[in-house]
Symmetry: C2
């Protein structure tokens, strides 16, 4: 998976390895980005920096900016978010200290690093980069629909925020473990930080959405796999434009539908019922055929984190019988997940 940055022509390549910055975080939910980095890119993380008052930890060793630099870190990565996306004043001295220690800064919050005067001034004085992973590249072309070489898998979903990134990472890992040549292609902030590159698809101007997806997974060797992180849902009243542009531009050979059993309404909408799994399969096939007539569904990834192991196993087995394809929870792994991987590679 680490070859990604070398292939992503035109997309930002992040300076690595990182030191993870946790600020003064006291709620684990706000540190999701840091946990994602720890879980999926441990070889790219030299430690964590916490301020006084922080109660959350990734379990990585606590270091200073200077110690991180001495361990080879090239950037401080802000691994926490708060609801407003603001960078609090009490973080700022640490950010300047990191710049002075020789680190670039990477963030994906609503507030831009360059909008903090003392941070911007220090970066300019020291010749360091302030990188916002929410900013798409400026050289995205209009899509042309030309069939590209290599194989592609896209994770899609019955809604937002139910495991499309996790599933793509787990499948890319499993493909790699079977000796295949594979790249994880990131389309959201945390994914981009993990991969070290990618395109924040939701921040791309609509006219260029499919073009950005084409750029994200360029021509590759015939046996090479791109495993592409999905976004939104094709039936989400707010985000379907993102999903369709990504689907068309990715021209996937295979898709895996991600779903959270028990979720009944779509996130952020006025009471919209979740679309059924079968309808997502039907619509994704119908629309995806436009740029890849051979598109097929390989199976289903369930987020069963709210269920007991026994409940999850029973549900996945019965749903697999009903749907006629493997159903697995990549967090639980096991034979069900192996069967899903088999189906992808069949």
């Amino acid at each position: 998976m680490n070859a990604l940055t070398d292939r992503l022509v035109g997309t930002p390549v992040l300076p690595q390895p990182y030191v993870l910055f946790l600020g003064d975080v006291t709620f684990a939910g706000f540190a999701k980005t840091a946990f994602g980095l720890r879980d999926w890119a441990p070889d790219k993380c030299v430690g964590e920096i916490r301020l006084a008052g922080a109660t959350v930890t990734t379990g990585l060793e606590a270091v200073t900016a200077a110690e991180a630099r001495a361990r080879g870190a090239r950037a401080l990565l802000i691994g926490v978010a708060n609801p407003g996306g603001v960078i609090p004043a009490i973080w700022r001295a640490s950010l300047v200290e990191a710049l002075e220690a020789g680190l670039d800064l990477i963030a994906g919050m609503h507030m831009r690093l360059s909008d903090i005067p003392e941070v911007a001034a220090a970066a300019q004085r020291l010749g360091r980069q302030l990188i916002d992973v929410r900013v798409p590249p400026t050289n995205i072309p209009i899509a042309n629909g030309r069939k590209r070489s290599g194989k592609r898998l896209l994770t899609v979903g019955t809604d937002c925020a139910l495991g499309k990134k996790y599933t793509a990472l787990a499948l890319a890992d499993a493909f790699g473990a079977r000796g295949l040549d594979v790249d994880f292609r990131a389309t959201g902030q945390t994914g981009i930080m993990i991969a070290g590159g990618g395109v924040p698809m939701d921040a791309v101007i609509s006219d260029f959405e499919a073009g950005a997806a084409e750029m994200l997974s360029p021509d590759a060797a015939a046996s090479h796999w791109d495993v592409i992180e999905g976004q939104g849902a094709i039936t989400h009243p707010a985000y379907a434009a993102v999903s369709l542009g990504l689907l068309h531009g990715s021209q996937p050979d295979i898709f895996v539908v991600c779903h959270e059993p028990g979720r009944t309404e779509m996130i952020g909408t006025a009471g919209y019922q979740l679309t059924s799994i079968e309808e997502i399969v039907e619509l994704t096939t119908l629309l995806g055929r436009r740029t890849n007539p051979a598109i097929r569904c390989a199976g289903f990834s369930f987020n069963t984190s709210a269920m007991s192991a026994a409940e999850a196993a029973e549900l996945m087995a019965s749903e697999s019988r009903r749907l006629g394809l493997p159903v697995a929870d990549p967090v639980r792994g096991g034979p069900a997940f192996d069967a899903l991987v088999d189906s992808c590679l069949a």
Copy 2:
């Protein structure tokens, strides 16, 4: 249709009436915007300004900037485009003269008015506006999918550039002629200039695409019609994201499919065959149902400009029988177009 600007909360409202600027244009195809304004908003155009060497005219009276201002013009509107979207140096003195005469400037070219130093300086000195209709509003919300009051019609297409704007304008006119309360909702540059407001949907960030469409056609009286200009095509490999966001956010009750008989390949793609009319009806209904379960196709608008009157009439009659709904060319009008309007209002 003129009530549009009053309803479009948050979208730019252009200063009107205009004087149309033709520069030194010698190819009528480059003056499409000016012709569109002349044809669809004659009451908003006080005349035209041409430079020496121009051989194209809208037929409106040639005036100076000062004369235009004396006739009530509030803005000079650049009604020509060239392939590069550049504002030539020889236009600039005229643009400054217009600012000095008391006019704002409106453009939709690739090059920004504010990037021309002498124009930017004059506008600042005089307190005039430089308006780029390609720039979307900054206050677009994420869509919520809530059902809005009032009725909506969206024009969709089998491809780009085959009459979706023209059809929407003609239908809005026809609805008005029947005494209905109607607004044309513009989604592209020329449409926005004609309407005096709107949202350039292809320039909106993907995450906000459906939200922009919701903003464009707000709650209205139960009997009120919004006739919304479509963009792209739901099966266009480059632009489908724009089309789907617009479809979801518009939540149309009715759609009319625009088509150009004889066109076989989609514009700008690597040999993609045009999608069939029936498939566009099927996909638009399937996807549009998500935000408006009552969506229906009311008929078809054919661009028959390349055909003789007899050929066009014969084709439209046979296609109408085959498809089971009215087929009309709004440019030709006549009983076929009346039947299409009847079907929309049925």
